[in-house]
């Protein structure tokens, strides 16, 4: 079974150590939640996996293949899709153009229509807005669009950075449900970075808690959610 293995990973920005000796694995069909306060290094972890920053040391393997020296474009072609923080829709383009862009490298013109339809089915609000510019979308719709845009390339690994940021609780709950079902049905490896620990722990199988760039706990999500002291200390609830 393919796994995403992070082994002894360290990333520095100059003299600042963003991540130190991070080790964990994420398995197929499961959501692995990465939790921690602001500045813990969660975003840096995802950026290292997708190749946007180079690790100082350590390895990142997907299905046994090392990713840590590959270019971003190549990592994408190995099935790793990164949905960055801040709802990175391209506002100057329409909803449909955003989605098409995600499918370009993977599918020819003919197959694209069907792939896009799957996303419209998954996120019905997008369907009625195909020809609208992405800057007209609401926060929740933007998040649907960025996730949908990552899904059109049929990734095997999905890296999500704070998908619930700025969303109403009900929208967050809907999003989490979609994610959980999707992960199980398409055998995805999902690495979910969140500050909203409660909602992400509700759908995660495993949880990794990071503090100041180091892994504090790596355990079953249920165990982490049940550990009151740990929750108070690192997760703030």
């Amino acid at each position: 079974m393919p796994v995403l293995e992070i082994d002894d990973l360290s990333v520095s920005y100059g003299a600042v150590h963003a991540l130190t000796d991070v080790t964990f694995a994420a398995a197929e069909g499961e959501v692995t939640a990465v939790l921690g306060a602001n500045g813990a290094g969660k975003t840096t972890l995802l950026r290292a996996i997708s190749g946007l920053v180079r690790p100082r040391k350590g390895t990142i393997r997907y299905d046994g293949e090392p990713l840590e020296k590959m270019s971003v474009e190549k990592i994408v072609r190995h099935g790793v899709a990164h949905v960055p923080e801040g709802r990175s829709v391209i506002e100057e383009m329409t909803v449909e153009e955003n989605l098409r862009l995600g499918a370009l490298w993977r599918f020819g013109r003919r197959e694209r229509g069907a792939v896009l339809d799957e996303v419209y089915e998954l996120f019905p609000p997008l369907s009625g807005r195909r020809r609208q510019h992405a800057n007209t979308l609401s926060g929740g719709e933007r998040q649907m669009l960025t996730i949908g845009r990552a899904l059109v390339s049929r990734p095997k690994v999905l890296l999500l950075d704070e998908p619930s940021l700025g969303l109403a609780p009900i929208v967050t709950a809907q999003l989490m449900t979609v994610l959980r079902d999707l992960t199980a049905s398409s055998k995805l490896i999902v690495v979910l970075v969140e500050q909203n620990a409660r909602s992400s722990l509700s759908i995660a199988k495993r949880a990794v808690v990071i503090n100041l760039g180091r892994v504090v706990v790596c355990d079953d999500a249920a165990t982490v959610a049940g550990d009151t002291e740990l929750r108070h200390h690192y997760l703030g609830y």
Binding site: S50, L52, V72, E73, V76, R77, A81, H82, P84, G86, R87, S88, I90, E91, E92, M93, E97, R100, L101, G102, L104, W105, R106, R109, N135, R149, A150, S153
Partner: protein, 292 residues
């Protein structure tokens, strides 16, 4: 009235040329965030290349195609050799590099061809026509100018809006990091952007040169007008380049006609200042609010 009409027609023709220069600047700025001061000088070089072909007795249209093709190649090579090393450094580095490249190219052209004015042919008459007894200051070459730039603009629009390549190029221009995360190979697209931009500049130079004569610095003034147009229209908008070009061309024609030709360059600068005061992002730029 007839004087005004003639000024307007002349302004439209020169405005289209300015628009082509501005389009080249916009294509480079929006995809690589570099202000290409060498745009005019590069177009001057491609025109000398075409001149070499024509001097050997070739047909005008062969020279025309050679100039555009030379623009494509020259733009691509320049991006790879000169721009790529400074691409991810401070924007000031790239500005100084393109400015230095301008001086280098004009110096080289001067050293090779000398400063003498050379006559470059036009495919159509550059003399205004008589229409129903009145003299109209719009020559067949002006018609060609308008058509050529319109074809360029429509072609670019078709590529950007209608093709997968255009979709990729727009993605790289608007959100380079997101584009990479979606599997777009950015580097060749930047090279292609430069190739197209310099080719657009080469077209503008071919449209200027029959009425200006070929010298190493014949594109200097038109480049300033091109900047004016790009600032008026918005540095990242191709449609803005067209409208900015026409606004600039017409304004300068009226100033030249009613106040005197020597005021034209000053009027261009005044236009830049007014435009920056009233609408600093340009008429057509869409300043997308970036949430970080």
């Amino acid at each position: 009235m007839q004087f005004f009409l003639n000024l307007t027609l002349g302004g439209i023709a020169s405005g289209m040329i300015v628009a082509a220069v501005a389009l080249g600047l916009v294509l480079i700025f929006r995809s690589t965030n570099v202000v290409n001061f060498a745009q005019g000088a590069m177009a001057m070089i491609t025109t000398y290349v075409a001149y070499g072909v024509l001097r050997d007795g070739a047909d005008y249209w062969l020279g025309f195609v050679v100039a555009l093709a030379a623009g494509l190649v020259f733009g691509a090579v320049t991006q790879i050799v000169v721009i790529r090393p400074v691409q991810n450094k401070s924007p000031l580095n790239a500005i100084i590099v393109t400015f230095g490249f301008l001086i280098l190219l004009e110096g080289l052209a001067g050293a090779i061809y000398g400063g003498t004015n050379r006559v470059f042919p036009a495919p159509f008459s550059v003399v205004g026509q008589k229409l129903g007894g009145t003299q109209i200051a719009f020559s067949p070459f002006d018609v060609f100018t308008v058509v050529a730039v319109l074809v360029l603009m429509v072609g670019m629009l078709a590529v950007f809006r209608g093709t997968d390549l255009g979709l990729r190029m727009r993605a790289v221009a608007f959100a380079p990091e997101t584009a990479r995360l979606l599997g777009v190979r950015v580097r060749p697209l930047l090279t292609l952007g430069w190739a197209l931009a310099v080719s657009a500049g080469a077209l503008a130079a071919l449209l200027v040169v029959p009425t200006a004569q070929l010298t190493p610095n014949f594109m200097d003034v038109i480049l300033i007008y091109g900047f004016t147009a790009a600032v008026v229209g918005g540095l990242d908008s191709p449609v803005g380049a067209l409208v900015g070009g026409l606004v600039t061309g017409l304004s300068l024609a009226y100033v030249g006609g009613y106040l005197g030709g020597s005021l034209e360059p000053m009027a261009a600068l005044a236009l830049v200042i007014v435009s920056l005061m009233i609408r600093p992002e340009g008429l057509f730029s869409r300043p997308a609010p970036r949430r970080v």
